[in-house]
């Protein structure tokens, strides 16, 4: 399905293309017709239906919270069961002509009422406040709805329940912050179903659910000595996500992996900013140590970088992006080398962050990918602000650092301009 922003862009571009003689008026009409077909029709009733369903589920939740004693328990349970049946039947009726957003809304409503039902039964019968067990129950119910009713909304509820279980399990363990492998048993079936769906929300929910599990394998604890390893691990994971996202976008399939790109980019910006902040504080710039998971993630990151260079169809973009990420991957090495507590280490980290983010902007511009440009720009701007705030040494040192950095970038820009002019194919050859 085409996104609304792409359709608007197409509508704006078509008259210009027709005027320039690039597209015939007949072809433009055919493109418009095709775009309308793929837009999925008017969505307003379905959107209102979805919001209405959400309010109905909230109404049941508030009713549960009131613990209204005037109605006997069996009547309340019967009411919940009837509400679930009504929502499922509505979804069935609405899906007579094939799955639609409206039938999805009704099925999602059934999953949400089931969630409220679990809370109601827990409250009425004073069941143990076991959040992990509650999340598994809700996740299981939502997953059943998602599969049998082909509902994307219920699948998102199932992923949310998976994440709730992950947090509840960590809270339960109290001392070990590594995610349990049991989580994958819950999450993997939902991810397999999500692979066959077209919904971008489902893809993002799936990537977030898997990403959270991976991120929580950095270390058993978040003690000060563990942080260099934790950040190195997270950085490696973001590199893998960015590479997977880009390769999926270029290849067109599987669409789910394309959702890895924005989450990977967001992670990249956050992690390199944290690295920069930590190197500028004496108390947090100690080398620390790395666990086996950091080494494994590091090897995966190296493999992802190689894949980016070798497999990317747009070699120029792939190489620039791989270079940007490779520079970021050098950051943990500065910490572990022990240089981090001196001026050379701080300057090295500052330079690596600025160079990596500048290359990221260049990669985004070369590949025409706005999200990559945006992430690079955000990282660059954030790094400059942090360096002005915390300063590498004295303000004179800082001024010298920016002077050298700026001069290097200008020289690189000039060299790149000449290189691109020399290597660009002549217009006639295109």
């Amino acid at each position: 399905m085409l996104t609304s922003s792409y359709r608007k862009r197409l509508e704006a571009d078509l008259p210009g293309w027709v005027a320039a003689g690039l597209v015939t008026p007949e072809a433009a009409s055919a493109i418009r017709l095709r775009a309308q077909e793929q837009a999925g029709g008017v969505r307003l009733p379905a959107i209102l239906g979805m919001l209405g369903g959400l309010l109905l589920a909230s109404s049941v939740a508030a009713f549960v919270a009131a613990n209204w004693a005037l109605m006997p328990r069996p009547a309340k349970v019967a009411m919940i069961l009837a509400a679930i049946a009504a929502a499922l039947f509505t979804a069935y009726r609405l899906a007579r002509n094939g799955p639609s957003l409206a039938s999805d809304a009704a099925a999602t409503c059934a999953a949400l009422i089931f969630l409220a039902g679990v809370a109601l039964v827990g409250q009425m019968y004073h069941l143990p406040a076991d959040w992990a067990a509650g999340a598994i129950t809700v996740g299981l119910g939502a997953f059943i709805v998602a599969v049998l009713m082909r509902s994307d909304g219920a699948l998102v509820v199932a992923f949310a329940a998976c994440l709730a279980w992950l947090l509840a399990d960590l809270q339960e363990s109290g001392v070990d912050f590594r995610a349990s492998p049991v989580y994958l048993l819950l999450c993997a079936p939902a991810v397999i179903v999500a692979l066959g769906r077209d919904s971008r929300i489902v893809h993002h929910a799936a990537v977030l659910a898997v990403g959270a599990w991976l991120a929580l394998h950095a270390s058993a604890s978040f003690a000060e000595s563990e942080w260099p390893g934790v950040l190195a691990y997270w950085l490696a994971i973001t590199v893998v996500f960015i590479a997977l996202g880009w390769l999926s976008i270029e290849g067109g399939r599987p669409a789910l992996l394309a959702a890895c790109l924005p989450w990977g980019l967001a992670g990249y910006v956050i992690v390199i900013m944290m690295q920069l902040l930590r190197i500028l504080e004496r108390s947090s710039s100690a080398p620390g140590h790395a666990s086996v998971s950091v080494v494994v993630a590091g090897l995966a990151a190296v493999a992802a970088l190689v894949a980016l260079v070798v497999m990317a169809r747009d070699r120029r973009f792939g190489s620039l992006l791989a270079a940007a990420l490779a520079l970021a991957c050098l950051l943990p090495l500065v910490f572990w080398s022990g240089l981090g507590q001196g001026l050379p280490g701080r300057a090295a980290v500052g330079l690596l962050v600025l160079a990596s983010s500048a290359l990221m902007v260049a990669a985004g511009a070369a590949g025409g990918l706005r999200s990559v440009t945006l992430a690079g720009s955000a990282a660059f701007a954030g790094a400059v602000l942090i360096l002005l705030w915390r300063t590498i040494g004295s303000l004179i040192d800082q001024s010298l650092f920016f002077l050298v950095g700026g001069a290097l970038l200008l020289v690189t820009a000039g060299a790149m301009r000449r290189l691109l002019a020399r290597t660009a194919a002549p217009e006639a050859a295109r």
Partner: protein, 207 residues
């Protein structure tokens, strides 16, 4: 491997008639809810009764309304000095009848213990532990100095009440509030009655 060529789960599920899928879905969701109720009813009907001293407080749950958080005297179990059990570890606490018919903790084990006459084993999870310390010049602690005190949760720490009633229980003097819990043979517990001054104020039917 061409991932696009692999058929999706949906393509298999679609082969089942739509009405059958809706009925299966409804049966699964309603079945899960009914199973939760039946499981707890079985404990209430067949479980051994234990009477526990409590200390209630009254918070509010955003989704589930007013509830009374109950902390029990048997929530703190004294064990010999040694390696503290990890948080979240499943344990069994042996309860024996004490003064006034109230049950007291008689020991902690990691497997279902052998029980004496009148004793009941209740299952729980470790929530933390600390050492019993006697401070000079202060009153003696209600435990053996040097022993390890393990905090255990039994899943009967929440009792939901109609909106506004939680405060009334909270303001009642702690020593006047008791709970009668039913404990199944496997150690799982459910609140059966809430007592104030020995008189039932909330009685739980199985359904």
């Amino acid at each position: 491997m061409n991932l696009a060529a692999i058929p999706s789960v949906d393509s298999y599920v679609q082969r089942v008639p739509r009405l059958v899928r809706v009925l299966l879905c409804g049966a699964a969701l309603c079945g899960i809810l009914v199973a939760m109720i039946l499981d707890r009813a079985a404990i209430l009907r067949g479980g051994a009764e234990v009477r526990l001293a409590t200390e209630p407080v009254d918070p509010r749950d955003l989704f589930r309304g007013d509830y009374v958080v109950l902390s029990y005297a048997v929530s703190m179990v004294e064990t010999p000095r040694g390696e503290p059990p990890k948080v979240g570890t499943p344990v069994f606490v042996r309860l024996k009848p004490g003064e006034g018919g109230r049950h007291v903790a008689a020991g902690l084990s990691f497997a279902l213990p052998t029980l004496g006459p009148g004793e009941v084993a209740i299952a729980g999870k470790v929530r933390g532990s600390h050492e019993c310390i006697a401070n000079p010049g202060r009153p003696a602690p209600p435990c053996t100095p040097g022993a390890r005190i393990v905090r255990v949760a039994y899943g009967i720490e929440s009792y939901f009440v109609p909106e506004g009633e939680g405060r009334a229980i909270e303001t009642t003097e702690a020593s006047r509030v008791e709970v009668v819990a039913a404990v199944s043979a496997s150690g799982r517990a459910a609140i059966k009655r809430l007592l104030i001054d020995g008189k039932p104020v909330h009685d739980e039917p199985p359904f």
